[in-house]
């Protein structure tokens, strides 16, 4: 039962993440990235198997019946990396807004509010500004 629920939840999460990734609003795109990477984390946890107790072993106790702790260690690493990259993506979004005056992906690609005066800006003519 848990397997089906988790599989469905993962499907929904990936779908929502993909949907948000395809929005024009940069903030939603960053949300989409965050959701996709978090669903990858959930997926990673389920890869260790869903049966078994918490992998906590008492002093002198055996390790029988515990679920795989390795995937949990992997997920911890992935969460930390995801946290850092999401924070960076948000800061970058703010910077994009400062530079372009918009967070609409289509407007940014077209040169944005500031870039509109200088059509060559998107060509990378002068990078020293």
């Amino acid at each position: 039962m848990t397997e089906f629920v988790l599989a469905a939840v993962l499907g929904v999460l990936f779908a929502v993440g993909t949907f948000l990734l395809l929005r024009r609003d940069v903030v939603r795109v960053v949300w989409g990235v965050a959701i996709v990477s978090q669903s990858a984390n959930v997926y990673l946890v389920t890869m260790g198997g869903l049966e078994g107790a918490a992998p906590i072993v008492a002093h002198g106790g055996g390790g029988g019946g515990a679920t795989d702790p390795l995937v949990q260690a992997l997920v911890l690493t992935a969460i930390v990396i995801g946290f850092g990259t999401t924070a960076f993506a948000l800061v970058l979004t703010y910077r994009v807004y400062e530079e372009h005056g918009t967070i609409d992906v289509v407007d940014i690609a077209a040169g944005g509010v500031n870039g509109a005066e200088d059509p060559d800006a998107s060509q990378g003519g002068d990078r020293d500004d």
């Binding site: 390795l70 960076f88 970058l92 910077r95």
Partner: protein, 535 residues
């Protein structure tokens, strides 16, 4: 004792990164510290290279290379994380060290004071740390971690100037790579669930004998295909190339040089290591009969895919470069095409049955990767020096650089000829080997593609030369001359391009040894985890 050498490049990069971070308020000190770190990195890589590849191998003698395995914290494989240095890793590290030091020296003079004070040096060395880690790790999840380390540094370096086009380029680059990272995590997790291990040597062992370890190869093949998409994104193969032109245009010239010269080679390394060493022994049997694929081994499935991606990259990169009006854009599209040339022999080698052809194919890809790394870094530095002097790299405004600054123009000329493949430059041997592999592998498609791509390379290289460097100097070009230090570093790299071509024999022997190491699955597994050899 020699095992400890394996961590040396990573330690040097890490210490330099932290040191320059601490000294960032003192501009001169951090600059010198950074350069010293670059030199130390080169020394560490050279020491590791010597320990792995004996000098006799470079002379063409029949000596064997070593595989050094370092178990981090003394945890034995497959439980701990293993760092492995074999001839393939050593070859890639050598590319990284040879390219990164001149680029760093260029950056010290090129990147403005504010930028250097801000964060340039620590980021550069963290980038090199990630690159070295990715080359050395023997654990698939650890490879993901090192990818993230180098990507995190490269995100900031791409957006370094923070202007409108830099932020929009970085946004594209960051979002694509974050999604790629999530997919890599999915692939790694799935592989762990199906194979029960993440240690690459252990994976190779289990895949070679799936019945004994209870591994079902069919889902493994599917998951490795997901992983391949991630690696293709890192190297910028079509259809995953969207981030390349804008990111290379936005990044400062030394960063573009190191992204094209070193970071892309991490993806090349990952493809060779994972598909030829680790999953190369996998077979799926006949129950999985997909249309258009022949053979049972994993590589026979990836060969056609690589061929299609390489073909699309060569054509799109070449045609895109012809249509570019600015030098950086031209170089960026050119590097998409050149990566196609690196993957083309791999595609032929993957489907080849003859082991000598496969070995030659991997060696050809490595030689081509080395040539592209040095030549493209040289060209990006020329573009940077021009931007510094003239204030633009738009080919419509450039012209006659050869008259005003012959050394810089000569640097561009050598780099462009190396891309085209004129003897005795390094590119000639790269192209020659690619064609040799195509002929021996009996792949007419690859041969035709290689010829078409070579013609496109000639077209865009001569276009860039004619428009930017030949003829009467324009007003903009007359106005400024680049700093002598920048020109000297360009000249140094140009000499390196020449030297690799003239003294090609040891380079070819090293590439051959690296190809042997990439295909010697048994030795790799034994070096990492010898405990189970008898069992």
């Amino acid at each position: 004792m020699t095992e400890q050498l394996v961590v040396a490049p990573m330690l040097v990069a890490l210490v330099t990164a932290v040191g320059t971070l601490l000294a960032r308020d003192r501009l001169r000190l951090s600059g010198w510290l950074s350069l010293a770190g670059g030199v130390a990195y080169l020394v560490a890589v050279a020491a590791l290279f010597r320990a792995v590849v004996p000098v006799a191998v470079l002379d063409g003698a029949d000596a064997s290379t070593a595989v050094l395995a370092y178990q981090l914290s003394g945890w034995p494989a497959p439980y701990g994380i293993t760092l492995v240095a074999d001839a393939l890793s050593a070859f890639m590290l050598a590319i990284a060290a040879v390219v990164s030091l001149p680029v760093l020296a260029f950056a010290v003079r090129y990147v403005d004071e504010y930028g250097q004070r801000l964060s340039f040096h620590p980021l550069y060395h963290f980038l090199m740390l990630g690159v070295s880690g990715a080359f050395l790790t023997g654990d698939l999840f650890n490879l993901f971690v090192w990818f993230e380390v180098l990507l995190m540094a490269s995100y900031v370096l791409v957006v370094f100037y923070g202007g409108p086009q830099h932020t929009s380029a970085a946004l594209k680059y960051v979002v694509l790579n974050l999604v790629g990272g999530a997919f890599m995590l999915v692939a790694v997790g799935g592989l762990y669930a199906t194979m029960g291990t993440l240690n690459m040597a252990d994976m190779a062992r289990r895949l070679a004998d799936p019945g004994r370890y209870g591994v079902d190869p069919v889902p493994v093949l599917g998951l490795t295909a997901v992983l391949f998409a991630v690696f293709a994104l890192k190297v910028g193969l079509v259809p995953f190339q969207f981030w390349v032109p804008s990111a290379y245009r936005a990044a400062p010239a030394p960063v573009a040089a190191v992204l094209a010269g070193v970071v892309k080679k991490v993806g090349v390394y990952a493809i060779v290591r994972v598909y030829f060493t680790v999953f190369g022994g996998g077979r799926v049997g006949t129950e999985l009969a997909l249309p258009g694929f022949a053979g049972e081994s994993f590589l026979s499935y990836f060969g056609p895919i690589m061929l299609v991606l390489a073909a699309a990259s060569i054509l799109l990169g070449g045609l895109g470069a012809v249509g570019q009006d600015d030098l950086d854009g031209l170089l960026a599209y050119s590097s998409i095409g050149q990566i196609g040339f690196v993957v083309l022999p791999l595609a032929v080698g993957a489907t080849a049955v003859d082991p000598t052809v496969r070995r030659l194919a991997v060696a050809a890809a490595l030689v081509y990767a080395l040539n592209h790394a040095v030549a493209k870094a040289l060209l990006f530095l020329v573009s940077g020096a021009l931007l510094d002097a003239v204030g633009t790299v738009d080919l419509r405004e450039l012209g006659g650089v050869a008259r005003v600054d012959p050394t810089l123009a000569a640097g561009f000329f050598l780099g462009a000829l190396a891309l085209v493949g004129i003897p005795p430059l390094s590119g000639f041997f790269g192209k020659l080997l690619v064609f040799d592999v195509a002929v021996r592998g009996g792949s007419d498609i690859a041969l035709g593609l290689g010829l078409g791509g070579a013609i496109l390379t000639i077209v865009y290289a001569s276009l860039a030369w004619n428009r930017g460097f030949w003829g009467e100097p324009t007003e903009a070009v007359r106005r400024g001359t680049p700093g002598p230090a920048l020109v000297a570093i360009v000249a140094l790299l140009a000499v390196a391009v020449l030297a690799i071509g003239v003294g090609f024999d040891p380079v070819f022997e090293a590439a051959g040894a690296a190809a042997d190491a990439a295909l010697a699955r048994g030795e790799y597994v034994d070096a990492v985890d010898p405990a189970e050899v008898s069992g």
